[in-house]
């Protein structure tokens, strides 16, 4: 079992004819993902990576029944791509693009609020349900099918966590990055709700970082609603306040948003804490043993 995507997911790639789009579409197809369509304005009628390309999302959906869209469109045009996918009724959109202006994402956020489209990202590594479907840039070979859900704001730290789990023989149900921007689609809480409901997930690992209050909201949800065990690591204990650590959302302003605060919130909610990023595997192993 898995959440959000599985072997039946029919994937559309927006921006399939770009360099990154083409390269990673190929890797997704090689992994076994059912990529059914691509979309690049002006390239309609051609094929790319062996799939038909359309000029508009609505046409791609009509012709191929795509039900998930993966976006590799450059930042200045990425918000428009998300809006188009939602307007065309695509229920799940995964946006890899980094560097989308905040104002564009404010617009996207308010537009999606009244609609049925779920957005993962932007500025995220995508999602993988090991052995079933890989959408995005998560290295498929470090993943292993199993029963732990992993959700992260960061991409590479997600790979690190998956790698540590797999090396210890701990497989994953679904892993995904919610994105490192201050405004993203799905939140930790959305992810935790899905993992809580998924019969194929036994435990969840959350990778937080400095900035914002997503981790505190996750902790509140875990405390009041989660029955499954959760562990977490929060990156950025050593980051100085007021400086942006790469991710647009990773900045400590005022007293809120420090790693210390987030770790404290998780601890208070009964979440097992990995103090070091090197201990992720060990901590999850402990979590599963003590169930």
């Amino acid at each position: 079992m898995s959440v959000l995507v599985d072997a039946d997911s029919r994937v559309l790639v927006q921006g399939i004819t770009g360099r990154e789009g083409g390269f990673h579409t190929r890797l997704c197809i090689d992994y076994g993902t059912r990529v059914v369509a691509g979309m690049t304005p002006g390239k309609g009628g051609t094929t790319a990576e062996g799939v038909p390309v359309f000029n508009t999302v609505v046409e791609a959906v009509r012709e191929t029944g795509a039900d998930v869209s993966l976006i590799f469109v450059p930042a200045p045009f990425a918000a428009d791509a998300i809006l188009e996918a939602s307007d065309a009724g695509v229920p799940l959109v995964v946006c890899i693009t980094e560097g989308i202006p905040v104002r564009d994402m404010v617009t996207v956020h308010h537009y999606l609020a009244g609609r049925k489209t779920r957005l993962i990202g932007p500025n995220c590594p995508g999602i993988i349900s090991p052995g079933k479907c890989k959408m995005g840039i998560i290295p498929g070979d470090v993943c292993r099918e199993g029963r732990v859900g992993v959700v992260s704001r960061s991409g590479t730290l997600l790979y690190e966590a998956i790698d540590q789990l797999s090396r210890r023989g701990i497989g994953q149900s679904t892993c995904f990055g919610i994105g490192g921007d201050p405004i993203v689609g799905m939140s930790f809480v959305d992810a935790l709700e899905l993992f809580e409901q998924d019969t194929g997930t036994d435990a969840v690992f959350v990778i937080g970082e400095i900035g914002g209050t997503a981790e505190q909201e996750a902790a509140r949800y875990i405390k009041s609603r989660m029955s499954k065990p959760v562990a977490a690591f929060v990156a950025g204990s050593t980051a100085p306040p007021g400086r942006r650590m790469g991710h647009a959302g990773a900045i400590v302003t005022g007293s809120q948003g420090t790693a210390q605060e987030k770790v404290a919130a998780f601890s208070a909610a009964g979440v097992a804490i990995a103090r070091s990023p090197a201990e992720i595997g060990v901590v999850v192993e402990g979590l599963l043993k003590h169930r």
Binding site: H110, L157, G246
Partner: protein, 390 residues
Amino acid sequence: MRIHEYQAKKLLSDFGIPVPPGEVIATPEEAAAATGRLGGRVALKAQVHAGGRGKGGGIRLAATPEEAAAIASQLLGRRLVTHQTPPEGLPVNTILVEEETIPQRELYLGVVIASACPVMMASESGGMDIEEVAAHRPEKIVSVHIDPSLGFQPFHARKLIYGLNLEPPLHRPATQLMGGLYRLFQERDCSLAEINPLAVTNDGRLLALDAKLNFDDNALFRQTEVAALRDEAQENALEVKAQDWGIKNYVKLQGNIGCVVNGAGLAMATMDLIQLAGGEPANFLDIGTVNNTERVVNAFRLLTGDPEVKAILINIFGGMARVDVIATGIVEAAKEMDIPVPVVVRLEGTNLEEGRRILAQSGVKVIHATDLSDAARKVVSSIAISRGSA
């Protein structure tokens, strides 16, 4: 991106927000001339990218052109230190000479994004840090969430105006001023637009006495006029160099272990790990998705150009970034420059085997690490060793 006060006031003025008459100057002579033109008492305000200038001696009053010139010659060319600057301060290259305004009341007005929504905040406690007010007298802050699909509406203005207890004659100018600030925030892709203090003058006008505008770096591609306001002299020299070299995410820190990592989260975690292992990171550096080796070489240029760096840790988990490209970059860097400090390398992910092969065949001397803990331990101990051997 940050800009100077005088640049912010020009933008405010473009959006119909009243600011005091003033001129920006770069020499004592210009200060005297500007003071003469303005007539009467003036404030000389050092233009640096930091707050706290008043207490730091960066805001001074002058009654005559001569006095203004004297103050300007004291300030110009100096580095101003405030609680918001780096310890070494920021260079004062320009001064805003402004007609002195004695406010009857000092208000606060600002716009930020919170919970994915523009929020306008106002307070009767102007002239002080809004975080201070929020922490100690939260009842003094009134705020409105502005649904961007609606934009700034009259009812938003009324909520703030009655919250500020403004006199009726100020209601219309306040509505216009607030509307202008919101439009500026949106149309110029600000991340912060703050007027503090917003003065109510003795003759019953509203006037933006000080202003701070920050901008969304991701939107500068469509804000060319704003981007042109950048003043690199106010930024860290190494950070400016990093930008020029295509390394967007580099932050100078106080330690001595230089880091090159791909991905912001892994870069933060690497810093954390170094500290857990007893070391101190010299920088945050997310090398991003590298498609050519040049950026890796530049990262080495940057770190070897930082005299504080005593060891370098390369930590790569390839996804979008490819390990073979990184490895090739390390080899090229070693050829091009002298790397006087130990280099610890930990590689994982996309095209790992190829990357390992490239490094091995090159004969470049690096310390290999098997995993994260190993990498942190090795880089910290490498300093001890090189110190020991020195």
